[in-house]
Amino acid sequence: MDRIDLLIDVVLVLMVIGMVMNLGGLLLWVERKASAILQDRIGANRASILGKLPINLGIVNTLVADPIKLFTKEDFIPPGADKLLHTLAPIVAVVPALITMLVVPFGDIIVIGGREIELQAARLDVGILYILAMVSLGVYGIVLAGWSSNNRWALLGGIRASAQMISYEIAMGLALIGAVLTYGTMDLQEIARAQSGMLFGVLPNWGIFYQPLAFLIFLTAGIAESKRAPFDLPEAEPELISGYFTEYSGAKQAVFMLVDFLESIIVAGLITTLFFGGWQVPLLDRTGIQFPWGGGIPLPSLVVTLMQVGAFTGKVFFFCWLQIMIRWTLPRFRYDQLMILGWKILLPAALLNVLITALAVLISESLK
């Protein structure tokens, strides 16, 4: 009994981590291609097997070739660097990013052998707080990388990263409070469940229609937290070479690049769960598709689950794509503009959103 439960937990955790890492690797290729499309180039297309064979498998080759190139390069620790922290920094950066997605549900219940399994690796009643905690731990890897490299640019990148991430965490947390007030729970599975059904019979009952302002704030703050353009001040190439990972090469640099993509996936996963229904598919419930005008198509539960997981993955992928598009469209902020946006625009807007949401909740509760 308990062994099987343990096995289920282990499988779920490994599944989520595996999914996230693979999606991160895939995004590396997508980003190269997307930037090429936006800049009217062809993009990565030269990786073929042994450089001789005429087979060009495109995606597969680039996916394999990029990591091989990075992992076979020399792992260089600059003289004067703090060896221990220099080695530790990529690990400190990647671990919180990998385990954040554990609380995000990717499907409803699946029934295997009479056992109901929630498609969520860790069901915590403090789910949203857990995410905030992991996101706030993410800054250490960056700061340590900057400090331990013994390099002025790296140090500047680290300082910039810590200031930026602290500033935008506040707006991010306040935007999340709006969502928590709407659903009355911090458990992400409950939040996803609450978004079933239809709104006015035409729209899906998704959080975006209750919390549009929170969505915009969360998207902005999320991109800033993942340090992607237009918020990539910590690694601004023209000013700081590569910012905090200037002195990294080989596998460690690959890890930092992976962390960037993992954070994009986390932001996409949270936006999906909080504002776009999570794994909910419009009109679909546990028994099959139900039309609002009556009638429906019954479906087996396995098909329903697969559709839900597919919907979740699709939505996550869409928001990753959106972030990549934003990255290659908008120019970088100046540092003062970044701080003004965080403290003078996003923070008051998020406070206003909390106030309005609280009032709306109060009124709707008293009308009941």
């Binding site: 707080l129 905690a133 996101v135 700061v143 900057g146 400090w147 810590s162």
Partner: protein, 162 residues
């Protein structure tokens, strides 16, 4: 909490506490403190304080210590041997030993009197039970805390703006 978990956690916590105090480099001190706070969060989870454990990471490890690291890096503090006091070491030792002896004596007695653990009510340490108590019995302290935070924000801005 069982004996093995307690032993592992407490040994690690005491070791990182000693590193906080004795390390020459302020950055390493700060990092040891981060480690101690994260371990303490795990400890809180084992003591059925889920909400407090997560808050411990968000507030201490995620905000306060990042601020410390930020200031250390901004001031670019170097290691220095002058950081340790060399004089009056005996006074210090006696003071700390007295403090420790007192605490040890009284806490040791606590074990003898009431070692039986009370039953934990349903929903102990969760978001809902904590916030219900916070917004009923502890409403006034809560409001005063918000005032205190406001004062701190204004004070920090005024100080840093000069």
């Amino acid at each position: 909490m069982d004996a093995i978990t307690f032993t592992v956690l407490s040994v690690l916590m005491v070791a990182s506490a000693i590193r906080v105090v004795l390390n020459r480099s302020p950055v390493y001190s700060a990092l040891s403190l981060v480690m101690l706070m994260s371990l303490l969060a795990v400890y809180f989870l084992y003591l059925d304080a889920h909400m407090v454990g997560v808050l411990q990471i968000i507030v201490y490890a995620g905000a306060v210590m990042v601020l410390f690291l930020f200031v250390i890096m901004l001031l670019n503090l170097q290691d220095s041997i002058q950081d340790y006091r060399q004089e009056k070491l005996w006074t210090m030792g006696i003071l700390c030993a007295t403090l420790f002896g007192e605490l040890w004596f009284f806490f040791g007695r606590a074990g003898g009197e009431s070692s039986a653990q009370h039953a934990v009510p349903e929903g102990f340490g969760t978001v809902i039970s904590l916030s219900q108590k916070l917004f009923t019995d502890y409403l006034l302290p809560f409001e005063i805390t918000s005032l205190l935070l406001l004062v701190a924000v204004v004070g920090a801005v005024v100080l840093a703006k000069r």
